[in-house]
Symmetry: C2
Subunit: 181 residues, 2 copies
DNA sequence: TCGTAGTTTCAGGAAAGATTGAAAGCACAA
DNA sequence: TTGTGCTTTCAATCTTTCCTGAAACTACGA
């Protein structure tokens, strides 16, 4: 519903819009599968492929959601650090832009999920283990052992992911490529 | 609500039960966060720490869920390959037992999520890229480029995860430990 | 201080997802 | 073939989560 197409035909523009819509829809679906609010994933997708920062009203318009909902999801994404709000000088409206670098995105998501989900799980496992390791009886020993194995596994994962999330893409990528060969 | 405690006091048994319940609850909560039905995660937790195979009725009793629901979740877990049903000879009731090896569990989950979530996403990205790579105009070029970067990243991940999920734990673990140092 | 432009909050409606319970289905033994 | 013991299915219901819209709030300029 706009005016200027720097180049290409109207058909091209329609095709581009269709591809964008498909992308946003699918990214949203993928978000759901990973336990992320669909709209939040869509807002993220939209900002990720936008060539310029967008306002709350732009989001409302594109995704057909209410102002309240747009605002909530934008804030949440800011909380993750996946987007940031900027107020262009002279204006009062806030504009949002996404981190576009895939590797940085990956690092952010890894760090956050580690913090929000793996760490708490480790805490619980540690607790379960400590509360049962001194108990006698086959049942208790088996439980304690299983819980310990789980905990050690998650701690190893946590360590590896921390290390990866701290690395530069430039250090990981060539290594990954070699390793995959 | 049972009889024989091979060793230890009644207090010990209560403590063990409390720890088990805590574990099941928390594993369920963690499942939710990762986009997995809470009950399914709890059934998995229950079987993971059980020293013997359990029947549908055992699950119903422990988790206080209906027969239908227990059945659905057991089937789903079988679908993932995380548990298997066995019919002890001479009996007609099906018993379920979980894969207890953490590394194998991790491989199964990795493989399944790759198949169910990463592969479809790659397909969509490929499609978006192909539909726009020949279009003219700054917008189209930017979109195409971003989508391509995403796709390449996911394909790299897919490759790495495939490789890891095919490995023996014995090959990864020492390497991980060294790498973490 | 008031008015304006914008943002945030939240009660309640809507949609999605989980759970039940009961009926239908299945497999085997008598 | 009928009966028994167990599993599966599915409409109905309950729960959770999402989403809206409107009111409250904030920041700033005149």
């Amino acid at each position: 519903m706009k005016s200027t197409f720097p180049a290409g035909s109207a058909g091209d523009a329609a095709q581009l819009q269709a591809a964008k819509d498909g992308f946003i829809t699918q990214w949203g679906a993928m978000g759901s599968a990973w336990g992320i609010n669909r709209t939040m994933a869509q807002v993220h997708a939209l900002l990720m492929i936008s060539t310029k920062p967008l306002t709350t009203d732009d989001i409302m318009e594109e995704l057909k959601v209410s102002r309240g909902h747009a605002n909530t999801n934008l804030r949440e994404l800011c909380g993750w650090g996946l987007i940031r709000g900027i107020i262009p000088k002279g204006e009062r409206k806030e504009n949002f832009e996404a981190e576009k670098d895939i590797w940085k995105m990956f690092c952010i998501i890894t760090r956050e999920r580690k913090r929000r989900e793996i760490r708490p799980a480790i805490t619980v496992l540690k607790d379960c283990h400590e509360r049962t390791e001194t108990l006698k009886g086959g049942e208790a020993v088996a439980f304690s052992k299983q819980v310990k194995a789980l905990r050690e596994f998650l701690e190893m994962m946590d360590g590896i992911l921390s290390k990866i999330a701290r690395s530069e893409q430039s250090k990981i990528l060539p290594w990954a490529l070699k390793w995959l060969s």
